[in-house]
Symmetry: C2
């Protein structure tokens, strides 16, 4: 490929050691997960059959909830959770963070399909606090908390604050829903099991293609009545597929492969963030990650930084990040999440690449 027309993502994908995530999202992800599976194993049929029921039971135990239903996507699962709580309260209003997935990534499905009004709590630059919840001016059926708050670098409240929000919601009859897309990834920081964290919430969504690295798929967890209702809505949304087993089998496979590695990913995220922070004109958010993810901010325009990164990718074989988002004319940012790749990369090679990055940033960014 012509080097001059290569994108940052292409250059990143061509490095020997891309640092982010588990692997390329290619068909090998499926082939590996199905390698141990016998072809005679029956598929699921419209939510029934051992392959889906056993996994749902297994995950219910893992999360300490009565019941679990597997969904094709978190978008579907979470809209449905909020709808059920709104119907139960006979109140079509919920509250969540301004950068909640439902608010910015779902084409307003919650409003367009469910006519649910939303209150945006806190600000785009900070977490929801107990005080925000206590100061609500309107009644709400449900509060959604996203842990970690992805769009601000994956930040987390103190666990005590989380417990206080949970207790307050219970006292007020407000249902508490967890957007736990990255639930497993925060257990090492909180030093709590997934079940302990889930016990603070009435309903929980978890994804299987974030830290777990499956193909796609999600679950809702909660009590039996809630999940029975969710199945009706799953059918209405068109999510009750004749067979979901390609996602279920890969979710289970990668869950069992990686659930014990969340602590390592977290430690490696802290290590990598420290290396970014040691570079001139670079800062991560949070400074010290509280999960396997963080954001990186550069005091340099996207157009200036891209050729610098691509040059380093080319000469060192290390790929730091796969894209840059313009924050302003002379600032840009990206997102990092740790999976299998980082730990397989020689530390000396990473350190050398950061040495070069720092050198080039010192040249490029005048103090």
């Amino acid at each position: 490929m012509n080097e001059q027309h290569k994108s940052l993502g292409e250059a990143y994908n061509e490095t020997t050691y891309p640092l982010i995530g588990h692997s390329r999202r290619n068909v090998e992800v499926l082939l590996e997960a199905f390698q141990p599976v016998d072809g005679s194993q029956a598929g699921d049929m419209y939510g029934n059959g051992a392959v889906i029921e056993d996994f749902q039971k297994f995950m219910a135990d893992e999360l300490g909830k009565e019941s679990v239903v597997f969904f094709p996507s978190g978008t579907m699962a979470q809209q449905i959770a909020l709808r059920i709580w709104c119907d139960e309260a006979e109140l079509k209003r919920v509250a969540y963070h301004p950068l909640c997935h439902l608010e910015i990534h779902e084409e307003d499905g919650l409003k367009e399909l469910h006519q649910i009004e939303t209150i945006l709590l806190a600000g785009e630059d900070r977490l929801i606090t107990l005080e925000d919840v206590q100061n609500l001016n309107s009644d709400i059926a449900c509060l959604l908390l996203e842990l970690p708050q992805r769009e601000i670098g994956g930040q987390l409240p103190d666990y005590a604050e989380l417990e206080a929000i949970s207790a307050y919601c219970r006292s007020q009859g407000i249902k508490l829903h967890l957007d736990g897309a990255r639930l497993f990834e925060i257990t090492p920081y909180y030093q709590r099991t997934a079940a302990e964290i889930c016990s603070l919430f009435d309903s929980v969504y978890v994804s299987f293609y974030k830290g777990i690295g499956g193909i796609a798929g999600a679950i809702l967890a909660g009590d039996n009545d809630f999940l029975a209702k969710s199945k009706v809505w799953k059918r209405r949304h068109g999510g009750d597929l004749v067979s979901l087993y390609p996602y279920i089998i890969s979710s289970e496979y990668y869950y069992k492969q990686r659930i014990e590695k969340m602590g390592r990913y977290y430690e490696e995220a802290k290590e990598l963030a420290a290396m970014f922070n040691q570079c001139h004109a670079v800062v991560t958010k949070p400074i010290v990650p509280v999960s396997n993810m963080f954001h990186v901010y550069f005091q340099l325009g996207k157009n200036q930084l891209e050729p610098i990164l691509m040059d380093i990718y080319n000469t060192t074989g290390i790929g730091f990040i796969s894209y840059l988002k313009e924050a302003s004319e002379d600032h840009c940012q990206s997102e990092v999440h740790i999976g299998e790749r980082y730990g397989k990369t020689p530390r000396e090679a990473i350190q050398e690449a950061f040495r070069v990055l720092n050198e080039k940033l010192l040249e490029a960014v005048q103090p």
Copy 2:
């Protein structure tokens, strides 16, 4: 397993020659489709990437439409099609058959999620006619026709009637949507290509796990503007999965395997229906199938017929049908669709099994 507690479905699955469909719906369906695929092939990402875009382009050509979007399910695809036409007409009313999939199998998703009012045309025992459409008392944004009409045995209007309905809808500004879950299965009877049939409709849904026998998945086809809108609604419904390739690759694989066999399945369905009709107290609907499917009606109660069938399955190794639905105390019915299995079964064995069935029905059903 204890023979006395076995269900008809279990007994059917244990026969050497079950006659319905392609194969068991087990993991082998996936493994076979992925056997030729190289692991390095990139997956799709939120509707983008060669694996989804190439298949959509291929199917658009097959159906003679500008554009195609792949969906995880037909439930999702069809609700979205009707919503788009209603929004365009600023009229939230559509018409379809009383036994339409949206009316009886989707937990009223169209009404609950889209607030679309429905008019039921024709009766539960017959097809929608041109006259039904002409006699509509209310304006509608869209008419949905299901070809073949599955719940009445897979019946079809004459092609001339279909053309007349299409012309009438166009003259009235009514959008015509095809529930073509089994579109490919009707091309041999109509002696028309899928594209010719689709040309009568503004939007078309096709399934990949009926006659094609994939794992799951569906497409919507139509013009560019319609499909662009459908992608927004797909995101809202939670159907814009990070990766749909397990369904796409299997859909393409089985499409290419089986699209040329639709004529054979149709001929075999007629052959099998004739054998049912030669038995005492049995009649199929239609008498002569017009696709690869038909319904079978028995003038005998479900509880009387089940042990008779199970005994024949056990002694002959032929499995006729996998379930019986009670129609009344002394009538029951089932559904048959032809795939790969029928053609692989020795004809003499089938004929012998039908000889025994007829004998036993003559004993059981007094004239």
